[in-house]
Subunit: 165 residues, 2 copies
DNA sequence: TAGGTTTGCTTCGAACTCGAAGCAAGGTGA
DNA sequence: TCACCTTGCTTCGAGTTCGAAGCAAACCTA
């Protein structure tokens, strides 16, 4: 257990570990709830929710992939599954023949609405039972700049694509 | 985009989304760095780091799986890979013939030490460039109770096993 | 407007993940 | 001590994930 050559700032280390661990546990719990309440995985739920929040319930594949931090090929696969069960539809983008637009269907919206109460219950129970309203605000204030910075300064490859105008 | 029946507290919602998004982006970036610097995945890195921090560099399989929020079967698979390249060794637990103890080797320690500087660099660049020392402390203060609460109150099944004495 | 590059998505193969089932060792109670 | 339940790990099969390669449309630029 002797310290390696580089001394790590323990304050930052703890924050980093806590973040990783909380998100892991939270995601794990959410996965269970979504499976039980709507036969959804977390990824599929994220896809549907993003679409539901998008104007007209539709988005470009690439933009959607970036929004949920997911590979393009993975999204193609999941979109295929969701389309097969009628929760989304895919169409060529009107403005760009290469592009594909994915849109949520009424059934998709209904499913999201159906699982949302349980979803919120889990998040409330695990995350917000320990955080006051102010705490939540503080957390957002801390993490928002971090997120924005990450989106701008991609690690190596795998860059977020240009913003759509 | 009419609101569904349940009104969601937007403050909490933002905090939750920010958390999920930041951890996703962070993990993604870390994955790249570990791959480049040490041919490691995030999971394998977590396994090695946990072991390195454990007394005598060893732990029970089950306890390790709980510590990193990972399935037992998944851990068996990864442990097999790590053992094959000499970064860990597995042995029957001395006190319980069923149990398996996994221990980090010198090569494993060396590899962790080798990737740590790059690892910290990524975390610093993405996470802590946007957070002051105080911010980091605040973040830890917010997330630590959450983590502890999650560990105690598992979602449904998949509960953390008894603490080892 | 032809050639080459870039962009957007899908296909493909390999690796990873999980839960269920399997198997062996550890309890436990009559 | 013998059945029976529990515990700890592994094996197995099915589903998921990713990057690389493939392909077509779009965008240069001369």
């Amino acid at each position: 257990m002797t310290e390696p050559t580089h001394a790590v700032d323990p304050v930052r280390l703890r924050a980093y570990f806590a973040l990783i661990e909380v998100s892991g546990l939270l995601r794990h719990a959410i996965e269970q709830q979504l499976q039980a309440d709507g036969d959804l995985t977390f990824v599929r739920f994220q896809i549907l929710r993003r679409l539901q929040l998008s104007p007209a319930g539709r988005q470009r594949m690439t933009d959607l992939a970036d929004a949920i931090v997911f590979s393009r090929s993975g999204l193609t696969y999941q979109a295929g599954l969701l389309e097969k069960v009628g929760l989304v539809v895919r169409n060529p983008s009107p403005d760009d023949e290469r592009g594909v637009t994915i849109a949520i269907t009424d059934a998709g919206r209904a499913l999201v609405d159906a699982v949302m109460p349980g979803h919120e219950a889990v998040v409330d129970r695990l995350l917000f039972s320990q955080l006051s309203q102010d705490d939540a605000r503080t957390l957002t204030a801390l993490l928002t700049p971090v997120r924005d910075h990450m989106r701008e300064a991609p690690p190596r490859s795998a860059r977020p694509r240009r913003a759509r105008s």
